[in-house]
Structure formats: C-alpha cells, structure tokens
C-alpha cells in the first residue's frame, strides 16, 4: 500500500512516502493508523492523537472508518490550512 505523509505528520514519521504490506486485519483507515503507530517512535508521535489527523484515499478526503485496500493510495496529514 502506498502511503503519503504531509506537514507535521511527515516530520514525525521522517518520510514523505512509504510502501507497506499491511496485515489482513487492517481494513479501515483507523486500523491502518493503529498499525502504523507501532512502526517507530516517530510513527507513534505522529499518530498519537487521531483526532488531529485527516486522511485521504485516492485523493479524496475520507472518514476514519473508511475501508482501505492494498491497491489504494492513502495519505495522512493534519487539518488543512491553505489559502
């Protein structure tokens, strides 16, 4: 699964992109976040509070309970602050 990180989520994780093989048990964004949290101290900091993280699947904003597939492009980032 292709995963992109932006802004401070990327700063904590230490990478802007990861290609990972998830266990079968990871079926939603929330489950994916919990799985990623265990990958490193940086990941743990990044995913500490899921309330301040947003996600997108294939360039669309999605809710935490949205289903993810191995072929999806997933992104994690803080609430947007453009404009």
């Amino acid at each position: 699964m292709k995963i992109y990180y932006f802004a401070w989520v990327r700063d904590y994780v230490g990478y802007s992109y990861e290609n990972i093989s998830c266990p079968k048990s990871v079926k939603t964004i929330e489950q994916l976040a919990h799985y990623l949290k265990k990958q490193s101290d940086g990941h743990a900091l990044a995913f500490e509070d899921l309330n301040v993280i947003r996600a997108a699947i294939n360039h669309q904003f999605v809710a935490n309970d949205s289903k993810v597939k191995d072929t999806d492009e997933v992104a994690f980032f803080p609430p947007v602050t453009g404009g």
Partner: protein, 156 residues
Amino acid sequence: MIRVSIQQEELDVTAEIQMMRSRSVGAITTFLGTVRDASQDSSLVSLTLEHYPGMSEKALDDIACKAMKKWSLESITIIHRVGKLEPAEIIVFVGCASAHRHDAFDGCQYVMDFLKTDAPFWKAEETKEGVVWITERETDKRAAENWLLHEPNKID
C-alpha cells in the same frame, strides 16, 4: 471556464484579470491571500506552503465546479502558490468573472471558504524561535459550513 495552477512562481494579477475579461463579463471579483505577520514582535521570517500534488489540483477544481453550478459565473481562476514565501507575498489568487457583481462576489467568497477547509495545503511559519505548522482555524470550518446551511442570495 476553470483555470487552476499550483506554482512556486509569483503570479501576474493583471495578466490573470486580462484572461477573465470579455464582452459578456461585467464583474470580476478577486481575492488575494497574502503572507500576514500575526506575531506580536513582527518576527515572521517566512511562510512555507506545502501541498499534496495530484490531490490539490483536483480539490481546487472540485470547489470551482461547485461554485460554477451554484452561481452564474463565466470563469473561475485559482492560483495557489507553494514553497517558501516572504511576508506580504501573495499566497493565493481567486478570480471570479460574471455578468453580475453579486454572483462574482458570492462565488469568490465560496471558493475561498472551501479552499480553506477542503484543499490539501499546509502552512508552516518560520520565526526567530523556529518553524511551526499552523493549526486549523475554527472560524474557517464555520465559514465553509455556513454555505451548506444557506442557499445563495440571488439579488442581482
């Protein structure tokens, strides 16, 4: 007509307005977001804009499409800069051209309100103390939500 650009380069406001002018247009409303130094001691050094390439263009196009459906607009131009910007530099340009001014004003405000909440851009402020990511503003969420409650006010 919808035009979107995400770029590091400065933008030429006069040229963008020139693109929107036509015999059938009577009103062009533009919004320019500029780098504001909100610090108490004028210590802002720079603002860095990051985006999600691929998604950001689509998000801006989506917002513009919705605005085109909601109001009578001839064209919308959205230019969002990314990278490192200095105080007073232009961050974003939104232009709406219409036969009538109320459509142009409402369309422009609608695009800006949703751009603040629905487009994947992030800002980091650099001051003497270091670099800090700006957090979401509650007022921006409310401004966008207001559009969902109220139908446009067709005065013109």
